[in-house]
Symmetry: C3
Subunit: 673 residues, 3 copies
């Protein structure tokens, strides 16, 4: 189990005392793995062609001989000043077509031939020098890839990408983007420009293809970076660190990670939830963390790494509150529970200057092992040492929620509905909540993954959906699956062109009904839906439904569609479908999914009785379940095990009722033989 | 009575099935008029000098032979990409002096000689080909003219415009703009630049002349467009579509429509009120619509056209709620009631792609005549067929409110008072409200129009007023008119230079008092005015008044001007004047104007007894009144006719009390012989 | 005592009647001093090398022969258009590297050699012509220096400044700025660029040095301006007008006035509090005004001038409310009470046009001496005539609060803590409040000033502190001083590099404790501190403290640090120190400082018994106290003098209890023999 994090000795090369302290403190903190070299380019190549690897040699040696391992980063996340100065083409041009100056980080042009050459060159030197070092366990490519560039090279690359996609047929592009609208027809490829606030920005097909291109060009840059690594160190796995978007804590939106994941050996991500904030409960936030973990785990259906986290607070939120005692262990264990094989930090040691000097770290400016945060890290380290069996184990799920990056881009870009109430990722988290509360494992999958593995597939707000995906959904239900779909689904195809002639006939067949109007509501509008014995408030969206062979499960209470269907179900061949026409409250989702859970006999992998705010997540080995019982509340909680389990940390056997303190976590083991 | 709207067959040229469906659906929807060619330039001239009119020939034929008529648009609202690419001078430069890229629409340089040549050329070809087609009933010039350009050509044109205005006398310009302030004196014409956030932006005289220039240059561009049309089709009337500003629904501010109106044969406008919103009552919003209608009707004192509206919702509001059943008929009839001779839509058919695909339309993506919206359109069509007598009839008013675009620009630009509480157009709507509630017809006129035609002239917040206008106001009162003026009036002349030596002596004569201080209040400040037996809250502004021969009608309750005059009246020669010193609440305006209505014996054209939220508006033919009785509430309303009238839709005779359903409208006829 | 203000006759040169009225009105208003020539460059040099001084000669003569005096301004605050047109290098480039157009004011490049030459030239001509005029009493250099430029000349000057500072040692700069973070190491001086939103903006050392450079370059420009004045008029004192930042009314932040003050003979400033606003009480605002006055007075430990103020309202606040009757006298007297030797206005007369025509003035557009504002000015004038003895007298204080511009820049730039809750200047005002309420004189001093003069030194939030300052603080306490420090102090050195190894050992010695964590709270988080018998709410920040030899004076009530020290005290050698760990409420500060006031026997210079909202401030001559008793409430207030005093305006003797009306001020004299 990897424990450690980003280590920047290049900031302390004139402080050998500090470098020596680091080695001592690493042992004291029970850490074993360090990501080195992120942003070290200036230290490695202080002038063009002048290299300085000696310091890194020493770091490798010192860490390794003290029992540690190294994740080696390629340094492309930030360039040396000499590189920008000599080759200005590496600087980005923003969407307003302003050339950026040197500075910051994560801001190189992904198309620049020079930058590709320079990064490949330094990566090759790193692979040559360290590829066979026994301490090297993984490559960390660049850092938090993101952003986009609108320079001439990128315009050229974008046009090239489009020619490939549309097979050199400009009419096909014009048709796909519906350019006859507003006279936007292109008569020559050279007229195509990336979206811009000072130019074209309302052609949704262009916007969508641009986002696809940005993902593909980022991957292309990444692929260029790893050429020498794959060549020279074919057995060293490759990762890059994914992100989430704050403050709502939703999956990172700017890049389609479902594409990127295919190019990685291991997914890793940087998790920075704002624990103890004043706008949501701890359990609410934990649920959102669980959702993203389940998405990033499901992308490759394998364990992932937590590449960055903070043992205390961050320094870039509006309010940078520190983790309360116990929260660091609890929040770290949650990552493991959902599939992580590591607890890594940004950062090992706080820097003395510049913009991240107050970001949480294992070692503070006091350089001490005696402060609270250091001790909490050491406790996590000690705990992880008891959990080595968990490494490599996975999770299984009968339930899947479909998340689609392209759909998120298209729905956010759509002119229509409520401009501020799209909230596609947040809606998925709302659907995920009940399963998390009931400890039922969920995969969050993409449209390309196999649906047949699941009993229940939940597809909220799938605005953009190809005919191919519709067929696959139909096949899923036909073969006995249960499908849930909601308002604003099935509106446009993969080009963001609306389906014509009413809702797609395959969808009508699956659901036995069709949506005929989507009503969009003002924030103060009120309406309700009755379902079973309950009445639930709706917000934002209400679909007017024309039912054909569907069963009416819920009806609207008010407005011109009062007493018409709001929720329907339908038996289609061997399977069943549900359509939820309105954006309903949390209570509805709990009641609705509780019934489905019962109907489909969905169960936790390992049942533990507990109150609200406790989460139980399981990682499964062939003959063992590793069960994480986590109290995400500020109160003591009673939990009850029906069968005997063994506490992996204390070794004690547990059965019946036990008490969890505020934020307490117990990791227990159960043989499944 | 025209019924139909914007039709874009150029988006569907490869779908003859859709074009055939259009003809069938036009009949089913009882529509008869279609605006064609807006944004069709790429379809008409796909490459420079290569024309393709065949598709438009067919559309003309098909519509005409099926009984429809065509409003033909010139295509200048959006350029083909080849035009921007070959002639970059047509692209705008924004106020920050950034050259825009190709894209969007309504963004050409109004000064570009090339663009003027190209637009006149395509317009000439359209006029040659379709000018004699019997289906052609009107020209629709470009679309929603707006915006401004700061390129070198425009700077040159602006300097030329200024030289004309100031008779080549640079000192006259320096004097008018008070440039000795902050050492801004121009010593050469070439130093004059349009206002810019990165340059000059606080010289109010410059800002005001720039806005005037923008209007004049827009009209100049328009005049250039219509040269071939006037030449070849002298009998085909010309319009362009005006707008309103959301969300408050006030007249469009960026162009002085009072100048533009003189260049049009017919005014038309695009009305998009946010019906059923959650911040105002339906009646409040209807009142605002009435105000704009009465302004645009009064500009030429003749009926106008509703050029664009939506049968359901739009797609560009923050929340795009659809019209509830009945609202489409009601809101359409309101337009007629105030002077429209058409109900036209944007758009006939929803496009499949790009940014307006979710904007309301007669034909939805389902391509069906069976949905609710289509049926509501057809009902409007059937109703309009009963109302052909109404076409061409006008309205008469004894009351006028003065609206001045230049005053709005100047008052918004003024540094002083409350920066966020100017609200000139909204204040006029507040004064309009009582008359609307009492069914008394109001003209909303400009400072150039004849005042003598009215018994009562209301002039709120006329901050900018020339000596000429002051004379005309004086003559109006002297001849027996009643004039109402308010706080922040008579402050600056037409150059935005303050009057010196106290309030203008003519104003002092008219009102028998003078304002000596304008107090500006914070939002939470509280003060009251007593008037008759009432006490009314004031907000934002309170004028300290020194009364001379005026009667004190209301006094302040509080602050250092407690017990001093807040409202005065004055007999001046044969007329009477009122000065309202403070921004008072709605109740005050209702009580104040109710008294005036009684004093001046102002009456509805046709009296109908009804409760609040019902509006009765009349169009008058020589021997007939056409009376629109409209329920803008969500409840049933009793209304009562004193004399017998005939329902124009059902043909039944009505007298005494009848009940209007929620949103119901009755159109009745009364012989005035 | 100077009374008068900014006078712009250059706006009225073609209105001799107005200029004649001015002289009459000056007498009627009891004014005697006028700042002339601000923004008069176009009038003085209408074309390059063509001068026109005749009008200014006349103004000098007319004012002087009518008993007035002149403060002559250099005209660099706004350039003529011909200058920008011929020498575009004088135009600023903003941080986004956009060259500005001509326009506005206060926007020249401080590095431009041409502009330095041109300004020195016009200043020399002014000094030659008016330097010996008996009416000239002071130079007013430019106007409200502010802003920054990023042009190539400025980049060059910045690099030059850095080379000087770092002794041509690029490694020293890299070390100071911690550029090894994010690979930002400079390998050549030419790579250094000023901070930019499109480039480098997160290197705090760079940002801090840039702000220092901007101050130094502004002073360098100022020094260039005064060369001919110092040469030709060595006895005429020199000032420039400082500012405050609205709306919170805190010291001006963009320039380090503690450096600038050393270059001035007299400090003057422009005070525009938003009296009568709706978010704070009059007394709250008066306290803030007092704080800034005490800072600007303490910078040179001598009287200052009020260079600009308004007799009514301004025109650039969001809501421009006018001063209520009495407030003008009261607020003017407050300036005197804290050390001003003048009451000067912007502006003498309202202009007719452009952006400041509605800014308050002595003479309104009515050109009358009969309006309320004019009369209130005249009353101030009459009062000032009774107060000539006060001129030149100063104040003495036993209490000092330390204000540091560099600390404010660094703490605001810091990534960490709460982004919106830094509020360093506002926190100082919170500490100042109790002393203001108790009429105890406070100096607000800088880190360079002598600490030994004070019994009590208050140092809140001194995030950035050099080792030298730490030593001086230590020496202050060791010698018997009492020192108060708070949360977020002693974090970084003068390069914004954190202290390593825990809190500085000297600080630990002084305080007998060390802060170990700074907790940052969300707005809705709640916690409390108990101190003596009280419980006080904390907000935003709470320091976890490890006490060594300190006394625990207050403890936290809640959270994981409940019952641990929140407030400590410590005897260090002959002195005492207090550490306040949390941001506590006003009541705490009142109770805490009341105890200290008692312990240290701090007393008002002249004791007057009064209720809340009354302020008593004293100016001290060798044998007289001049006592300002001011009622900053909207109610009558009883005040009581223990000994007999003489009212300086009425001449009457006062003793015992008297009543002050709302906003009333009494200025009384007391012999101190």
């Amino acid at each position: 189990m990897l424990h450690g994090g980003d280590y920047n000795p290049d900031q302390w090369l004139d402080r050998p005392d500090i470098l020596a302290d680091d080695i001592k403190l690493m042992k004291l903190s029970h850490t074993n793995t360090f990501s080195v070299g992120i942003f070290a380019w200036s230290a490695l190549e202080p002038e063009e062609g002048v290299y300085n690897f000696e310091w890194l040699d020493e770091i490798f040696e010192n860490i390794y001989k003290n029992g540690g391992r190294i994740i080696l980063a390629t340094p492309s996340g930030a360039r040396p000043a000499w590189l920008s100065q000599k080759y200005p083409e590496v600087l980005r041009v923003n969407a307003s077509r302003m050339k950026q100056l040197h500075g910051g980080r994560h801001n190189h042009c992904f198309s620049s031939e020079v930058y590709r050459e320079k990064t490949q060159n330094i990566n090759r030197l790193l692979a040559e020098r360290y590829g066979n070092h026994p301490g090297l366990i993984m490559w960390h490519i660049s850092n938090e890839y993101s952003g986009e560039c609108h320079c001439d090279q990128c315009q050229h690359a974008f046009r090239h990408w489009l020619k490939q996609k549309y097979d050199h047929d400009l009419k096909a592009l014009n048709d796909a983007w519906w350019t006859n609208f507003w006279s936007h027809t292109y008569s020559d490829w050279s007229q195509v420009e990336s979206p811009s606030p000072i130019g074209e920005n309302a052609v949704h097909g262009l916007n969508l293809d641009w986002r696809r291109f940005v993902t593909d060009q980022t991957i292309s840059f990444f692929e260029n970076e790893i050429v020498p690594l794959k060549e020279m160190t074919p057995n060293i796995p490759i990762t890059t660190n994914f992100m989430a978007d704050t403050f709502d804590l939703i999956p990172f939106q700017a890049l389609d990670y479902s594409k990127f994941a295919k190019h990685l050996d291991v997914i890793s991500w940087d998790a920075y939830p704002a624990w103890h904030n004043d706008w949501e409960s701890t359990a609410d936030l934990a649920m959102k963390v669980g959702f993203i973990n389940d998405l990033y785990r499901s992308l490759k259906q394998q364990p992932f790494l937590l590449m960055e986290s903070t043992p205390s607070g961050v320094n870039w939120h509006d309010v940078n509150k520190t983790k309360r005692p116990g929260m660091h262990l609890l929040s770290s264990m949650q990552m493991l529970a959902h599939g992580s094989d590591s607890i890594l930090y940004f950062q090992w040691r706080k820097s003395r200057g510049s913009s991240e000097k107050f970001h949480g770290a294992v070692v503070d400016h006091d350089n001490s092992s005696e402060n609270r945060v250091f001790k909490e890290v050491a406790k996590v380290g000690e705990t992880l040492e008891k959990l080595s069996e968990v490494v490599g184990t996975n999770r299984t799920s009968d339930v899947a929620i479909l998340y689609d990056w392209e759909n998120n881009w298209a729905i956010n870009d759509a002119q229509g509905f409520g401009m501020k109430t799209k909230r596609y990722p947040q809606t998925l988290q709302q659907h995920y909540r009940t399963f998390w509360e009931k400890d039922i494992s969920v995969d969050v999958i993409t449209k390309e993954q196999d649906f047949a593995a699941y009993k229940l597939l939940i597809v909220p707000m799938l605005y953009l959906v190809s005919e191919e995906t519709i067929s696959r959904l139909k096949a899923f239900v036909a073969s006995g699956g249960t499908l849930v779909m909601t308002y604003i689904s099935g509106i446009v195809n993969e080009h963001d062109l609306t389906y014509m002639g009413g809702w797609h006939k395959d969808l009508q067949e699956i659901f036995g009904m069709k949506p005929v109007e989507t009503d969009t509501l003002f924030p103060n509008d009120k309406n309700f839906v009755t379902f079973r014995n309950g009445t639930y408030e709706l917000k934002d969206y209400a679909t007017v439904i024309e039912s054909n062979t569907a069963n009416i499960e819920g009806v609207y209470q008010d407005d011109f569609y009062a007493n018409t269907p709001a929720i329907t179900s339908h038996q289609y061949e061997s399977g069943k479908s549900y359509y939820i026409g309105a954006r309903l409250d949390d209570q509805f989702h709990q009641d609705f999914y509780s019934e489905l859970i019962k109907d489909l006999s969905l169960e936790p992998v390992f049942p533990v009785t507990h109150g609200k705010g406790v989460s139980v997540q399981v990682r499964q080995a062939p003959e063992h379940d590793y069960i994480f019982v986590m109290n995400f509340t500020e109160e003591k909680q009673q939990v009850s095990f029906e069968t005997k389990v063994t506490d992996m940390v204390t070794g004690e056997d547990l059965t019946g009722e036990i008490t969890l303190d505020k934020y307490e976590v117990r990791i227990v083991e159960k043989s499944t033989n």
